[in-house]
Amino acid sequence: MSVSVPHAFAVWQRNAAMYRRTWMWNILPNFFEPVLYLLSLGIGVGAYITQMGGMSYAAFLAPGLICVAAMNGASFEVTYNIFVRLTFERAYDAMLTTPIEPDDVLAGEILWALTRACIYGACFFIVVCLFGLAPLPRALLAIPIIPLAGLLFACIGIAFSLRIPSIDMFSFYFTLFLTPLFLFSDIFFPLKERLSGAWLWVAEVLPLLHPVRMARMAFRGDASPIVLWDLAYVLSVSALLLVWARRGVRRRLTN
């Protein structure tokens, strides 16, 4: 069975219909969060740091935090929200009484998580521009990295969500997986100045590192061939996880 685009879109529309009712309340925190980060870290901590990576600390942080916003937008959607739709709202049981198939559910949910990632990321991007931290126009090249980061973390999150028995497991996902990524993915300090040798290679495993590095390259305007490796990592890890999630979604929704 393959994906039917109109049916996947119907899944997306269900989520959009619910989001539309409360979008004002949903979208506001997306603006507060970056402002708070930039104030505390950029202007607070940054006052004690003259330069990092050849720029002000706030300017160093900005591209990485945009990726984090995209990661968070996708992650909340494919963890807590999907689990609620799966178990409490039984939304997928309802969908599967119609021509919608499990593959359509997966495609629609990934598409919706991407949408949320783009909303989060775009809000952050706007704030970064308002703070004067985005060198325009070249920083605009970072915009396509928002959906890429969203896709990667939508796939990681959904593959996890489809295989856990209870909603309590998500606290592990956030504290033992996303938080370390947030702290050690080149966002707060340049990894290659603090790590050496084999550790630098180990760090390449971290998923968030790749979108962050691409976003920073866009902000600095110094593209290097490593962008190809970053792109290949994001796309191939997403593709592999999607294949795995396809099996998971069928096992979870049908028997």
Binding site: A10, A17, E89, R90, D93, T97, T98, P99, T254
Partner: protein, 315 residues
């Protein structure tokens, strides 16, 4: 009921089994639902009714056996089959934060309905299930009966040829049940084939042209409700309080083929005509009062006679 014998059946299940680990939920079940009928799967909780329904609309795969719906193999063509049927699940799956109208619109998109068809169909369903008075308030504020009507409205979105209802009136008050039954009758009259599960024998008896009694995952008997009563038991039931010691003296002279069932201190005897037996019991008791009821035999009795268990009690 006018069933054209030339019409192919809507559902054909042949020797279908479903195993979940060590548990055999459905055991070589066979079923044939003719077009235009209301067909009931009657059985206690845990008999395999819901699993059977899930296999019919293609979200549970049989471990063995084949199921054809509208003549199509459900394992091969689930999209095509589900485009032509509607399902009301046992538990409502409404979006509680949204209004009935928005719930209907979301569901219409699952069937890829587009404007203006979508709005037209939503309006028709609001009228048909009498949802107009609360069509725009969040579903979570509505009564159980109203929510159930909305759940049925959702399953009618695609004007299904086959409507599947899993325990449609469980937990509803009597007035709401009567109203829902009349809607199901309207649909059947309009030509929709209905397959429902229930553990209420009165629901099955009032709504269904045919019923299949299911226990432990297989069909133990099948037929029109009245035919089952006549062939398996007899039209009249006499219920009396009597001990096992009293029984032979009290029932002396009863035709040997008359069915008897005992549930604790209560004895039920099924007869074509109860008058003679009632007179004999009165004579035996010499005017003493004994708890005695004469009533029409019902499907619950048939079920009890065939399985030794009650429908409500479970197997």
């Amino acid at each position: 009921m006018a069933v054209d014998r030339a019409d192919p059946p809507i559902i054909e299940a042949e020797s279908v089994s479903k195993r979940f680990g060590a548990r055999l939920a459905v055991d070589r079940l066979s079923l044939m639902v003719p077009a235009g009928t209301c067909f009931g799967l009657l059985g206690p909780n845990g008999a395999g009714k819901t699993t059977t329904l899930r296999m019919i609309y293609g979200v549970t795969r049989p471990s063995s056996g084949t199921i054809r719906v509208f003549g199509l193999d459900i394992g091969r063509d689930p999209r095509a089959v589900r485009a032509r049927l509607g399902v009301t699940l046992q538990q409502n799956v409404l979006i509680e934060a949204l209004s009935p109208i928005d719930n209907l619109r979301v569901f219409g998109r699952y069937h890829v309905l587009r404007e203006p068809e979508l709005s037209r169909r939503v309006n028709e369903l609001i009228d048909f299930l009498e949802l107009r008075s609360h069509a725009t308030v969040p579903v979570r504020t509505l009564s159980g009966g109203f929510q159930r009507r909305l759940a049925i409205a959702l399953s009618l979105m695609n004007q299904p040829e086959l409507l599947i209802l899993d325990e449609p009136t469980t937990g509803l008050d009597p007035a709401v049940r009567l109203a829902l039954w009349s809607k199901v009758r309207d649909l059947r009259t309009a030509g929709t084939t209905v397959l429902l599960t229930t553990h209420y024998m009165d629901e099955a008896q009032r709504l269904c042209d045919r019923v299949a009694i299911v226990a432990n995952g297989s069909v133990i008997t099948e037929g029109a409700p009245l035919d089952l009563i006549m062939t398996r038991l007899a039209p009249q039931a006499v219920e009396i309080e009597c001990t096992t010691d009293e029984e032979p003296g009290l029932l002396n002279g009863l035709p040997p083929k008359a069915h008897r069932l005992r549930a604790g201190g209560r004895l039920m005897i099924f007869l074509d005509d109860a008058t003679a037996l009632v007179n004999r019991i009165h004579a035996h008791d010499h005017g003493e009062r004994r708890d005695l009821i004469v009533r029409p035999t019902n499907l619950e009795d048939v079920f009890l006679a065939m399985t030794g268990t009650t429908l409500e009690g479970g197997s």
